[in-house]
Symmetry: C2
Subunit: 338 residues, 2 copies
């Protein structure tokens, strides 16, 4: 991207992720010239006390935009399939948070701490894809270990917050929990099942081999981001009654046995990672700590006493920030540095 | 144990598990002659509308008792260390839910669906140990698969309910959640960390190699129950904001590749297991389904597409019932059948 003092930015979508994008752009002092906020219908919204005019989305709205951040909904109903190519025609680079373009060969899928150089591949289509929330925080934690010894296998079980399903799911978590405490009846609407004081292993739709689409994203996106198509990765993804912050229990098998001190050192030195790891004093990452932060938090770092090539990590991140909005803005930061 | 029409039973402890033992004895129509309920102090308690007199525990209280079910607290402060030997001296067989005797060589550790024959080893000490909640539901699900092909490795991440830490932890979950919804402040007391809309990978104390004592229980108890001391088992145990019902995400590596249809068939035919497994129609076990039930619920049964010897299971059970009280009463049922 041509070096400028300021860039004209469009944010498309004003749901949970779109709002977070506006917040992150401001907090990280992204050098913005004009900011356009686009959605299906025009309105005004207020984020942290600041009012934003939302314009109705159209192909023409992208004229003069340098970077278009698409927050949103995937598939035919989403804006990206229709408007990302229009934005590119207007000369913008699109950074898309949805899943529509992620696995296309000529669209880079980027986590700045892991594969920043892939950003330049956006020349082909004008689009950079932002990975899935559960993938992003995992690869940030895997990358430093993969440098110490090739990772052969990853077994991951997730604990995913309601906000991963949008802001209506968070409202449902709170309303339903209040109703449950008051012995009132309720019906799941935004989420597949009751979420109040309950959890369920069902995120996304049903995919191949009875894995969910979310579970497949963690496999295929990790292969692409880490340039490791033969890494064995397998996931079970679970929705839990937490509002913000995904947690992941990750078991790793490396090619060579690693020294646990070296693993801790590599993780502590890695970009974008905060290590909190002292079980004796009750210190480990939790969703409440990660909320509102851009880093990936790693703890419970330990070697399997029964397998010298086995390692455990406990990885927590804010799914709306590092898992979505912040990663997208960080991609934009890489883009304007080049 | 000598065959009788009815047996004199003592229940020691009236916390979450003790109360559940009284409930389960009644619901399963255990052939009780006299029932004694013992605790640190005498009182009256009401369970499901029935009043029970609680006597103060003493060595003499076990006179005439055939079977003593210890519900309770582990370690020096618990009743089992002091009173289990006294109960045995009085001629009772002790079934202890605590961890004090579990790993002793001359005390059998029993899950009736898995190793019922070990019950007879109680002759040595007069004590049978009830395993840890998270172990019980796991071994019930592993056993039928281990018969199809030797299990080489088990990687498990748990989602454990507050009730595993006692009834005060359940009260804390509800009070704290209400306070969080009302924007009131609160401080964790019964649990190590905030539990309202949060979760944390810390159950039990810190043990060897930075694993928690709960994580070690899942390893060592499984070795003993399954008579498989060389099985590689590794666990991460996590407390979640659910009141009752532990869930486990279990990855298994078998010696031979298995046909997934055979695995499903074996699990469906196994004692004490209910299979709920249809992701396409949103069917899988959840804590709210398992609550109040004695079975172990298994779903999300699938083969790792990237490893022909890899299998996933999602296993849910009522931690107070199958994970504690019901398993203890089922041991007593085996005992009186012999």
């Amino acid at each position: 991207m041509r070096k400028k003092a300021k860039y004209n930015v469009a944010v498309v979508g004003v749901g949970a992720v779109g709002v977070e994008m506006l917040r992150v752009l401001k907090q990280r002092n992204f050098p913005i010239g004009n900011l356009k906020v686009l959605a299906r219908s025009a309105r005004e919204i207020t984020v942290d006390g600041q009012t934003y005019h939302v314009d109705q989305i159209s192909a023409e709205a992208f004229k003069g935009i340098d970077i278009a951040l698409f927050a949103g909904t995937e598939g035919e109903k989403g804006a990206a399939v229709t408007y990302a190519p229009e934005a590119v025609k207007c000369g913008a680079v699109v950074i898309d948070n949805g899943a529509d373009f992620r696995m296309e060969a000529d669209v880079p899928l980027v986590v700045p701490e892991v594969n920043p150089k892939d950003v330049k591949k956006c020349k082909a289509r004008g689009i950079i894809a932002n990975p899935n929330c559960s993938t992003i925080q995992m690869v940030v934690a895997l990358a430093p270990i993969h440098k110490l010894s090739k990772i052969k296998k990853v077994i991951v079980s997730t604990y995913q917050a309601a906000s991963g399903a949008g802001s209506k799911a968070v409202e449902e978590l709170y309303h339903q929990t209040k109703a449950a405490l008051d012995n009132q009846s309720f019906k799941p609407e935004a989420l597949a099942q009751r979420i109040a004081f309950n959890l369920f292993p069902h995120i996304g739709g049903a995919g191949d081999a009875d894995f969910t689409t979310e579970e497949w994203k963690m496999v295929k996106e990790t292969h692409k981001i880490m340039h490791a198509p033969k890494m064995k990765i397998s996931a079970t993804t679970v929705r839990v009654p937490v509002a913000i912050g995904h947690s992941e229990s990750i078991y790793i098998e490396t090619q060579k046995p690693l020294d646990i001190a070296d693993v801790k050192k590599a993780l502590s030195a890695a970009p974008g990672i905060v290590v909190i790891d002292d079980i004796k004093n009750g210190q480990y990452p939790m969703p409440i700590d990660a909320c509102g932060r851009d880093e990936v938090f790693v703890g419970r770092i330990r070697k399997d006493p029964l397998d010298e090539k086995g390692l455990w990590l406990w990885v927590v991140a804010d799914n709306l920030r590092k898992g979505a909005a912040s990663n997208a803005v960080q991609i934009a930061e890489v883009l304007i540095k080049k």
